[in-house]
Amino acid sequence: MDALDTTKFIEQFAEVVEVQPAELSLSDRFREKVPYWSSLLGFGLLTMFDMEYGVQLSLDEFMKAETVDDLRQAVIHGQQSPAQG
């Protein structure tokens, strides 16, 4: 079921938060790693997950995530769950 390409996910993530993909890894705590992290960038990520993966993460799920991998797992989990209303 894990159809999520990690390299591609990191590329997409990096593009949204406007850093180089090479500077970002799964274990990074993105709120600390991304220079000038702000909630606006969070909006960008949530929208990207929806557009690229059809997954609508709740704000709660997003706030719980600490690392890039936490978000990757949340997206995978979202893909496996039935669509939300």
């Binding site: 949204v16 000038y36 702000s38 606006l40 960038l41 909006f43 960008g44 949530l46 929208t47 929806d50």
Partner: protein, 354 residues
């Protein structure tokens, strides 16, 4: 046959002018108390360093737009008696009645044979103004004045993080003239399900203003009055970044064009991050997307004409450019027009001490 992409043949832009308040707010100072240590991160994302905000609470979009119009009429040497229509795009009119356009007729001394109407729109307003104004110019075969301005800051809570450091005030004027060779192509989209995402909740007929609507309420960080701009930033961001790329590509396809064929995409600029995200979605290089949001703030529907004046004047004074103009915002609404812009008259940016 139904035409989803309205064509307007026979009108072109003759000139564009813009007027901003002289008063400048430095967000890096003004936001310290509200945002604390998060301030620089927030400003880095929104990209809004300074904003133009009316110094006086009594200065309105009408004042700024009339200043722009006077300068444009003077520079174009237009005969005011020949103007057949005034269209005023705004969500901050002087009053509910009469409309702003009627006031302009008197202020600028236009003839009694002038059609005068307002278009109630926010950030998507400018293409609507061009559609209505262009139609008037074609049907009367004379020139028409489209004013477009908002003084949003009179209706913004200084305690609401979503809007406090976002908006700028501006007024603009665009002259539309009949021109047989010209052809404009529009696209308009509306989704009223998103009506709550950008709204003044109180003060209209549905929710008349009460004493309670003048009190600041809500959680820290989002305290505002019932009469203030209320914005669900996430909802607007998601809707526009998901729909704008499709909307723009569809219009270009209809005209057998690609982004490569455009000289400029003059987009509404809600904030820097959203502008870049939308440009990336459309697939257009940022060098073709002029912006002034860093200096002036989000100018609502006046974003597009003000950007033509502040960023493109030198070019469009001299040559014809293939332009896409797209506004998007409250409604929720998206409005676009494709046209050849230039050579046109563009006076220097007007500044108003008020």
């Amino acid at each position: 046959m139904l035409q989803r992409y309205p064509i307007l043949a026979g009108a072109s832009i003759g000139g564009v002018a813009a007027c901003l308040p002289l008063n400048t707010i430095d967000n890096h100072v003004a936001g310290r108390e509200l945002f604390g240590e998060d301030l620089e991160s927030v400003l880095h994302a929104t990209g809004i360093d300074t904003r133009r905000v009316c110094r006086l609470p009594t200065t309105t979009a009408l004042d700024l737009s009339v200043q722009a119009a006077k300068r444009l009429i003077e520079e174009e040497r237009l005969v005011t008696a020949d103007c057949t229509g005034i269209v005023f795009v705004t969500h901050t009119p002087d009053s509910w009645m009469p409309n702003n356009a009627s006031l302009v007729q008197q202020m600028l001394g236009f003839s009694g044979w002038t059609a005068a109407l307002d278009v109630n729109h926010a950030c998507a307003g400018y293409p609507y103004g061009l559609w209505v104004g262009g139609s008037l110019a074609v049907s009367t075969q004379s020139w028409v004045l489209v004013l477009d301005g908002d003084t949003s800051n009179h209706h913004v809570s200084p305690y609401d993080k979503a809007t406090a450091l976002l908006l700028g005030d501006a007024g603009t004027a665009t002259v539309i003239v009949p021109e047989s060779d010209s052809r404009w192509r529009f696209s308009f989209e509306t989704d009223g399900r998103g009506r709550e995402a950008l709204t003044f909740p109180a003060g209209g007929a549905r929710h008349p203003m009460t004493a309670a609507d003048l009190q600041y309420t809500g959680d820290p960080g989002s305290r505002r009055r019932g009469i203030d701009w209320t914005m669900d930033g996430m909802a607007v961001f998601a809707y526009m970044t998901q729909n704008m790329p499709r909307h723009v590509r569809a219009l270009l396809t209809e005209e057998h064009l690609t982004v490569e064929d455009l000289d400029y995409a003059v987009l509404h600029q809600p904030n820097g991050f959203m502008l870049r995200t939308i440009a990336r979605g459309i697939g257009i290089g940022l060098e073709k997307v002029p912006t002034n949001v860093a200096r002036f703030g989000n100018l609502s529907s006046a974003s597009i004409p003000t950007t033509i004046v502040s960023e493109l004047a030198e070019d469009v004074r001299q040559r014809s450019t293939r332009c896409l103009m797209s506004g998007f915002g409250a409604g929720l609404s998206i409005a676009s027009v494709l046209m050849n812009l230039g050579p046109i008259v563009v006076p220097e940016l007007v500044e108003y001490d008020g």
